[in-house]
Subunit: 184 residues, 2 copies
Amino acid sequence: MKSVEITLPEWLPGFLDGRTLFNDDTSKMELAVALARRNIAEGGGPFGAAVFDRADGRLVSAGMNLVVPANNSALHAEMVAIVFAEKLLKSYSLATKGRFELFTSCAPCAMCLGAVLWSGVERLVYAAKADDARAIGFDEGPVFDESYNYLEERGIEVVHGFMRKEGRAVLQAYLAGGGNIYNP
Amino acid sequence: MKSVEITLPEWLPGFLDGRTLFNDDTSKMELAVALARRNIAEGGGPFGAAVFDRADGRLVSAGMNLVVPANNSALHAEMVAIVFAEKLLKSYSLATKGRFELFTSCAPCAMCLGAVLWSGVERLVYAAKADDARAIGFDEGPVFDESYNYLEERGIEVVHGFMRKEGRAVLQAYLAGGGNIYNP
């Protein structure tokens, strides 16, 4: 096997419906949470994320958890959003291309938190807290207060639990719908 | 953009030269370190990794750092090896397919350490220590003693600094050759 392809779902363009500008934190997080909700309906995990250009609120890339449909444990929503943003901007560090931020419907796991650091985004905003994910059976991996301190010391602004209620509601809906808790 | 393709280097089959069985830790780590060394010569980062089937020592997948050539900050050697192993075995958790182990030429960064947990490998063996990577200017991200404890509590055996001298030598060779320290 020589290559692995990461493919965005066919429903994404219709879901976005031409929307490209998101001018405040609320509208950006609403998008991340709506991606998570739609992704559940399409057989994915209950997590959504998006990268925005801070200069103009332009959506750069959208991500959703594709672990189960793609048989790929690395395809958390944040990873998908980051990988597509870098592809679009042709750089392994978004920091070289402007000022970017990542919104995600749930606190990043250990893998995604590390990926945020390498991506070059300068701001991370998440909705549901790690405890909300754990409450429905997901593991978040080794993430500690010191992990966030590490990012902040390197200049990444972190906003914790913004629109937590909305983020948590998606997780609860996934649980209520009998969603697959992979890697419990 | 609808998809991102992760492609293994064209030199890999020739490098492996038909070798499929690796029957002890030394031969497995020699492969990971040799992948790192060859990858430097081919314009990649100084890191190599491989997944093996513990039942018979069969090589399942090889990985190398492709961050710079692929413009993708997620493509650390461990991530590449894991993603290709899961693709080959058609599962988002290797734990459902047998007993697997990951060898890597250097201690995993925060992202890769999280990815190891989600991959379902049951053993992690690394050569160079995090300090050896930091010594040439690479950041390892928020990895703490507690991070490894977290993996071990979940049943993952970790072997630290196995053939460290050989792993460190590759990093030093990269530095001496003027290699690009991305994400310093």
